[in-house]
């Protein structure tokens, strides 16, 4: 024993210098975070740095793309474009929007799978949970720091992406993605929906990881959850977020005359009193006798007005955030109550 100590002592003095010198150099930067936040940042710094980097790059790309769009429009607003110009716009910018929207649509799921799922499952799988929860900080403080720092980064990054993308898309909103702001991904990529959706998938990833206790299992389940949730959201929820507006015009007249930027959802036939019939009612009616019998005199087009978009987004985000809070409450309750 003493032999080992003797042998070690000459090198001891040399070594003592190296770490001190190292920490002095980076000391100023490290002062920022302390205690548990430092640990959480250090544990996830690769993922969080990557997230920040991707945000900055994406925002720069959106800004560059906006310059292209503004150049093309040259002071005109999008509805003023004639048919040929509109076609040229699609040729030049359709793939841009497609790519941006694919990125922003898949982003929440990716964050959920790669940041959310391993956040606590990783600590459980590698046993390091036993290490952190037996230091002097209480379990409540540990779970708070573990959740707050990554979720704060998620909120900041996605809010920034949402705002910058909205800034790029808004000048051309009537024609970008062929004017479809509802089902093309724009609805989920702008306003409060992008941060809310990302938060939900991240927190659900954390909760799934906590239950699965295995990183790979948690990631797979989170991916499936995000996919299934998105399908249900698109099929059942998105169109229920607003009240459809009606545009009524005579059966043989011109129409519908929808406001610019509105989304046509459905077409009906209707009586003067407003009773609706399916669009194919009296399809084979050459004489008009069938329609006359039913009293059909008008056509009705149901649509969402562009002005409804913000309200629908806030309602959607509210639902997503309510689900997030429920999942978050489960995570905190379980982390505090159950020895993990």
């Amino acid at each position: 024993m003493s032999g080992t100590t003797q042998a070690a002592s000459p090198s001891r003095t040399e070594r003592a210098v190296a770490p001190d010198g190292g920490s002095a150099a980076s000391g100023a930067r490290r002062e920022l975070l302390h205690k548990l936040p430092w640990l959480v940042w250090r544990r996830h710094r690769a993922a969080l740095r990557l997230g920040l980097l991707i945000t900055v790059v994406a925002c720069a790309v959106f800004a560059y793309q906006r310059m292209g769009i503004m150049d093309f429009l040259g002071g005109r607003s999008a509805p003023d474009l004639d048919g040929q110009q509109a076609e040229e716009f699609q040729n030049r910018f359709n793939s841009t929007f497609k790519f941006d929207l694919a990125f922003l649509t898949f982003l929440p799921g990716i964050v959920g799978v790669f940041l959310g799922a391993p956040l606590i499952a990783g600590e459980q799988e590698h046993g390091t949970l036993k290490l952190v929860t037996t230091q002097s900080a209480s379990r409540a403080r540990w779970i708070t720091a573990t959740l707050v720092l990554p979720l704060a980064v998620v909120v900041v990054c996605t809010t920034l992406l949402s705002v910058v993308f909205h800034w790029m898309w808004a000048p051309a909103h009537e024609i970008a993605a062929f004017g479809d702001w509802l089902d093309s991904g724009i609805f989920e990529s702008t306003g409060p929906v992008l941060p809310a959706r990302t938060l939900l998938f991240t927190v659900c990833g954390i909760a799934i990881g906590m239950l699965a206790k295995r990183v790979v299992t948690a990631m797979a389940v989170t991916a499936v959850f995000a996919a299934v949730f998105s399908v249900i959201w698109a099929a059942k929820v998105r169109h229920q977020l607003g009240t459809l507006r009606d545009s009524v015009y005579p059966y043989d007249g011109d129409g519908p005359d929808l406001p610019p930027g509105s989304i046509r959802i459905d077409d009906w036939l209707s009586t003067a009193g407003g009773d609706l019939f399916g669009i194919s009612t009296c399809n084979d009616d050459e004489t008009g006798a069938c329609r006359a019998k039913l009293g059909i005199v008008n056509r009705v087009t149901q649509y969402f007005d562009y002005g409804q978009m913000t309200g629908m987004q806030w309602l959607g985000a509210g639902i997503l955030l309510a689900l997030t809070v429920a999942a978050l409450a489960f995570v905190i309750w379980r982390a505090r109550r159950r020895p993990l």
């Binding site: 001891r12 920490s23 002097s136 409540a140 020895p339």
Partner: protein, 308 residues
């Protein structure tokens, strides 16, 4: 130590029930501060469950546990207790220096100089990542993290099991030296009975979730006698069972051997020997039905004079 409670651990009716049954049941004892205590028992005896409940990783189903007079449910105990889990979990991507910083950031009583000294004594470079270290080096860093916390109570779950003999010897020396210097109470579970004999002055024996033996080695071990004599038929001679407590007995050919707790003087027909601690422990571990022995000083209702 200016401590209001002289008892490092006081367990009262402590029990933990899992879905498959009781892992720990009705465990009552106390351990005075400053002891080096061995926690012995076969696999599945409840050792890890007990250590888990002392480190707030396991929530006991019944009973109470106090460390230095503070209920274990109070987060304040975390500061005074350090725990080294069996698999010695550390973040593999952290460097040694970052691992020590973890200790510094999360523990108000942290002793950086002590932790660095332990790490350096093993020639572990501070810039190395944990994932690249050998088993012995990792254990040393884990020890440094535990000792740097300056705990009053150090709980170790089979700390030496994955070390080679050389590293094991080194770690035991380190443990004894640091514990002696700071007056740390140590409770460690282990299967290495002979090593325990050298290091520990207190014993807790668990079997099938129940406490079988508790007390100082200087009281428990001399309370037993190893007797040898001529076997007379099968079974334990009535002469022994009448006045003494037989822990374990064996017949080899014509020779009868037994470990007993003498209840009075032995007759001359028996050859009596003092057993080693290992012999006593093995006897208890082999005979789960042997009577429980809790020394007075380990009893919760033990002599109050000792507490004062």
């Amino acid at each position: 130590m200016s401590d209001p409670s002289p008892w490092a651990i006081e367990a009262e009716g402590l029990g933990k029930k899992y879905r498959r049954g009781w892992a720990l049941r009705d465990c009552s004892f106390r351990l005075g501060a400053g002891h080096i205590c061995a926690l012995v028992g076969p696999n599945g005896a409840g050792k890890s469950t007990f250590l888990g409940s002392a480190t707030r990783l396991v929530q006991p189903t019944t009973g109470s546990l106090r460390l230095f007079g503070v209920p274990v449910s109070d987060p304040a105990v975390l500061e005074r207790v350090a725990f080294l889990a069996q698999d010695k979990p550390l973040y593999p991507r952290f460097t040694v220096a970052e691992t020590l910083r973890l200790g510094r950031e999360l523990n108000p009583r942290w002793d950086q100089a002590l932790a660095e000294r332990i790490v350096r004594a093993g020639n572990v470079p501070l810039t190395a990542r944990i994932g690249t270290l050998s088993g012995g080096q990792r254990t040393r860093v884990a020890f440094a993290l535990a000792f740097g916390k300056r705990p009053d109570l150090l709980l170790l779950d089979e700390p030496m099991s994955d070390l080679d003999p050389l590293a094991r010897h080194e770690m035991s020396g380190l443990l004894m030296a640091e514990a002696a210097e700071h007056g740390t109470t140590v409770l460690m579970s282990s299967h290495m009975l002979s090593e325990m004999e050298d290091m520990c002055d207190y014993l807790l024996v668990l079997a099938e979730g129940r406490l079988r033996m508790a007390g100082g080695t200087d009281e428990l071990v001399p309370a037993h006698t190893l007797v040898t004599g001529v076997a007379a038929g099968d079974g334990v001679p009535e002469e022994l069972t009448r006045r003494h407590t037989v822990v374990e007995s064996r017949v080899t050919g014509r020779q009868f051997t037994a470990l007993i707790r003498p209840g009075g003087p032995l007759s001359d027909s028996w050859e009596a020997q003092s057993p080693s601690m290992e012999e006593v422990l093995l006897a208890y571990l082999r005979s789960p039905e042997a009577p429980t022995m809790i020394a007075d000083e380990a009893r919760l209702d033990g002599p109050r004079a000792a507490a004062a």
